[in-house]
C-alpha cells in the first residue's frame, strides 16, 4: 500500500498518525538502525530519516547539533539510502527521507529519485524547496511514486492552499508556528484556529510538526490534524555519551507515550 493510500485510510478511520524524525548518523552511524527499530517498536507510523546538512536553515539548536555531529560521524546521502533499504526490509512502516536540497542536488536529482525508488523510500521532505521552485523535480518525483511533501505554515497565503493541496501526493506538512524546529513547552492558542482553517481547505492528510514536545501537546495538536511529527523532542532523549541500548529504551518509551496520547483521541476525538 502506498503512503498516500495508507494515510487516507487512517484518515477515514480517524486514526491519528505519529511520524518521528531521526537524524541519520546521530549520535553515531551504528546507532541509526537500532534507534529506528526502537521508534517502530514504540508505535510510530512513519519514520523520517534526516539527511544531515552543514547549514540547516529551518532548524533549531537540537537538530543543528545533531546534523553537525552526524556529519562528523561521516554520514552521507548514499549511506542514508543504504540504511533505508536495510530498514524497509525489516520494518513494516514507511521510511521517508528529510533533508535540505543541496546534498540532493550534489547527488543528482534524477539519480536520487531512482535510488529512492530502488531502496524503498516512501517520500522526500525538503524544507528549503517550496512548491514554486524545481517544477520538473516535483513532477518527476510524483510520476515515479516518490512524492515530495509540501509545507504549509501559519503565514501561507490562503490562495496558495489549493496549489499546495494539488502538490501533496502523500501528505501536507503543516508547520505549527512561524520559526525553526525545536521543542516548545507549549504552542500558542492561535495554532488551533490555523489548523482548523487548514484542514477545512486542504483535502490531503495533514501532519503537524515543529515544537511538539510532550504527550499533552501531541494530543492537543493531533485533535486538529491527521497526525503529528516529533523531531527535536525525540532527539533530546538521546544521550550522546550513552550506550545504544540505553538510548533505544528511552526513545522507545518516549515514542510510546506520545503514541498513547494521540491514540486516546481516536476514533472519538474527531467529529467532523
Amino acid at each position: 500500500m502506498n503512503l498516500r493510500t495508507s494515510l487516507h485510510d487512517k484518515k477515514a478511520k480517524h486514526e491519528k498518525v505519529l511520524s518521528c524524525f531521526l537524524t541519520a548518523g546521530y549520535p553515531t552511524r551504528e546507532a541509526t538502525v537500532p534507534l529506528a527499530k526502537a521508534i517502530a517498536r514504540g508505535g510510530a507510523d512513519l519514520i523520517e530519516l534526516g539527511v544531515p546538512f552543514s547549514d540547516p536553515l529551518a532548524d533549531g539548536p537540537v537538530i543543528q547539533r545533531s546534523s553537525l555531529r552526524a556529519l562528523r560521524e561521516g554520514t552521507t546521502l548514499p549511506w542514508v539510502l543504504d540504511i533505508t533499504s536495510e530498514l524497509t526490509a525489516e520494518l513494516s512502516i514507511p521510511i521517508l527521507l528529510m533533508g535540505y536540497l543541496n546534498p540532493m542536488l550534489a547527488y543528482g536529482a534524477e539519480r536520487l529519485l531512482k535510488a529512492a525508488k530502488e531502496k524503498g523510500v516512501a517520500a522526500l521532505i525538503i524544507p528549503d524547496l517550496p512548491i514554486d521552485e524545481e517544477t520538473d523535480l516535483w513532477n518527476q518525483a510524483a510520476e515515479m511514486g516518490i512524492p515530495l511533501v509540501p509545507f504549509v505554515s501559519p503565514t501561507t497565503a490562503r490562495e496558495r492552499f489549493a496549489m499546495i493541496d494539488r502538490k501533496a501526493k502523500a501528505f501536507v506538512y503543516a508547520v505549527s508556528i512561524t520559526g525553526v524546529t525545536g521543542a516548545r513547552k507549549s504552542l500558542p492558542t492561535e495554532v488551533e484556529m490555523y489548523l482548523k482553517e487548514l484542514t477545512q481547505n486542504i483535502k490531503a492528510p495533514t501532519l503537524v510538526g515543529f515544537g511538539i514536545s510532550n504527550p499533552d501537546e501531541a494530543a492537543r495538536m493531533a485533535k486538529h490534524a491527521d497526525g503529528i511529527i516529533v523531531g527535536s523532542a525525540l532527539l533530546s532523549q538521546i544521550d550522546e555519551k550513552g550506550g545504544i541500548d540505553e538510548n533505544c529504551q528511552r526513545v522507545e518509551r518516549f515514542v510510546r507515550e506520545i503514541k498513547k496520547a494521540i491514540t486516546c483521541l481516536s476514533p472519538t476525538g474527531e467529529n467532523k
Partner: protein, 398 residues
C-alpha cells in the same frame, strides 16, 4: 542619464520569479514565502514611486554624502603606466558602500510598518550601516555576527553598540558571515510578522539580489556620468566580489558598454589550497541561503568553509547574478591572495594617502595582473568600496 535600449539579455534579468538564467530563485521555508512576496511588491511599487525615490536620493545626498568622487591616483598611475581612477565609496558616511542599500531598505521597512530590523554582518560594515540607519529612523536593530568576525573587526562591534544596535554573537559552525546569515534568517523566520530582514548583499532569495542591486547601482551610474562629463575613456572596471553587492552596483550600468569588467574574489592562501573564498573560480552551483548560485562545497553537497583575511569576502556563496554573468562571460572573475591584497592596501596608503578596506584591497591587488593591451589608451576604474580603519590590526600584524 542615458536610457539603454540595447536588446541584451543581461539587461532583462531577473525574470519575475527572480531567476538570472538558471540562478537565483527562492529556496526558503514556506513560512517566508508570503513575506518575500510582500517585499517584492513593496519594492517594485516604491521603486516606481517618485516620492520614495526623491526621499531616498535626499538621504543618499545629505545623510550618506553622495555623490562620491571619481579620483585619479597619480602616483599609482605613473608606476603602472596607465591611468587609474578610484570610485571613492570609502568616503561615504559609515565608510563603505553598504549605506546605499541600508538606506533604501530602511525606507522600505518604514513603508511596510516594520519596526524591528535584523541583519547579518561579516566585516561589520553592513552591520554599522544598519545600526546607523536604524538610529536615524528610530528602528530597532538586531545584528548577527560570527564571534571570529567580532574579534577581527572589533572596532565595528563597538560602533554598532554605540549606535544602539544589539549585536548577537554567533558561535555556530564557522563563526563567520555564513553562520551569521543563517542565524539572521532563523530569527526572521521566527519573527517574520514584525521583523524586516535587511540583507546586506546581492545574495539570498528573490527579491533581495535584484533589490540590493537596484539600491547599489547608483555607484555605477555616478561613475558613468562622471566619466562622460570629464571625457575619460575607461576600458577596464575592477571590483571585489564576496557576495558581490559593490561589484554589481558598479558594473550594472556598464553591462552594455564595450568595457572589460573584472570581479576579484579572495584567493586566501591560494586557490589551489583549501583556504580561499573564490566561489566563482573554484565552486559549483548549489543552494545556500535561499538561492541557487555558485557555492564552495564538497562532493556530498556540504558547504565548505571559506577563508579570507577579509571578513567581508569570507563567504562560500556569491550573488546569483554574478553566477549568470560568469557563465555568459560578460564579467571575468579572477582572484587575489591575502598577501597580495595586504600589500596593495599598504601601497595605496603609503603612496596615495588612502587607507582602503581589505575587501577592495583585493580589487587593487589585481591591477598588476592587467594586460596593458586590454587597457589600450583607456583608463582603469577601481571601486574602492570601503575604508580600512576597521582593518588596522591586520595591516600592522600582517
Amino acid at each position: 542619464m542615458s536610457v539603454v535600449t540595447t536588446n541584451n539579455n543581461s539587461r532583462h534579468q531577473p525574470d519575475r520569479r527572480g531567476h538570472f538564467g538558471p540562478y537565483g530563485g527562492r529556496y526558503v521555508p514556506e513560512t517566508l514565502m508570503s513575506a518575500l512576496n510582500d517585499l517584492d511588491v513593496a519594492f517594485r511599487t516604491a521603486w516606481r514611486d517618485r516620492i520614495f525615490r526623491q526621499k531616498l536620493n535626499e538621504e543618499l545626498a545629505n545623510f550618506a554624502g553622495r555623490p562620491t568622487p571619481l579620483y585619479a591616483v597619480e602616483n599609482l598611475s605613473e608606476e603602472l603606466g596607465y591611468p587609474v581612477f578610484l570610485k571613492r565609496e570609502d568616503l561615504l558616511h559609515t565608510g563603505a558602500h553598504k549605506i546605499n542599500n541600508a538606506l533604501g531598505q530602511a525606507l522600505l521597512a518604514q513603508r511596510l510598518s516594520k519596526k524591528r530590523i535584523v541583519a547579518e554582518t561579516g566585516a561589520g560594515q553592513h552591520g554599522v550601516a544598519v545600526a546607523t540607519v536604524c538610529a536615524r529612523f528610530g528602528l530597532e536593530a538586531v545584528v548577527y555576527m560570527g564571534v571570529k568576525d567580532m574579534e577581527r573587526q572589533a572596532p565595528n562591534v563597538s560602533r554598532m553598540k554605540l549606535l544602539g544596535a544589539e549585536v548577537i554573537p554567533v558561535e555556530n559552525g564557522t563563526q563567520t558571515l555564513k553562520d551569521a546569515t543563517s542565524q539572521a534568517i532563523r530569527d526572521w523566520v521566527t519573527n517574520v510578522r514584525t521583523t524586516f530582514y535587511l540583507l546586506g548583499s546581492v545574495v539570498g532569495p528573490h527579491p533581495y539580489p535584484m533589490m540590493v542591486r537596484q539600491f547599489q547601482r547608483v555607484i555605477g551610474e555616478e561613475t558613468r556620468r562622471e566619466l562622460r562629463r570629464r571625457e575619460i575613456n575607461a576600458s577596464v572596471l575592477i571590483a571585489c566580489v564576496g557576495g558581490g553587492s559593490n561589484a554589481i552596483g558598479f558594473f550594472y550600468p556598464f553591462l552594455q558598454d564595450d568595457m572589460q569588467l573584472y570581479g576579484v574574489e579572495a584567493a586566501g592562501e591560494g586557490i589551489a589550497t583549501e583556504h580561499h573564498a573564490a566561489t566563482l573560480s573554484a565552486g559549483r552551483p548549489g543552494v545556500l541561503h535561499g538561492s541557487y548560485s555558485y557555492l564552495l562545497q564538497n562532493d556530498d553537497g556540504q558547504v565548505s568553509e571559506a577563508h579570507s583575511v577579509s571578513a567581508g569576502l569570507d563567504y562560500p556563496g556569491v550573488g546569483p547574478e554574478h553566477s549568470f554573468l560568469r557563465d555568459t562571460g560578460r564579467v571575468r572573475y579572477v582572484s587575489v591572495t591575502d598577501e597580495e591584497a595586504l600589500q596593495a592596501a599598504r601601497n595605496l596608503c603609503r603612496y596615495e594617502g588612502i587607507l582602503p578596506a581589505l575587501e577592495p584591497a583585493h580589487a587593487l591587488g589585481y591591477l598588476r595582473y592587467l594586460d596593458k593591451k586590454e587597457i589600450g589608451d583607456g583608463a582603469v576604474v577601481v571601486c574602492l568600496s570601503g575604508r580600512g580603519d576597521k582593518d588596522l590590526q591586520a595591516f600592522i600584524e600582517g
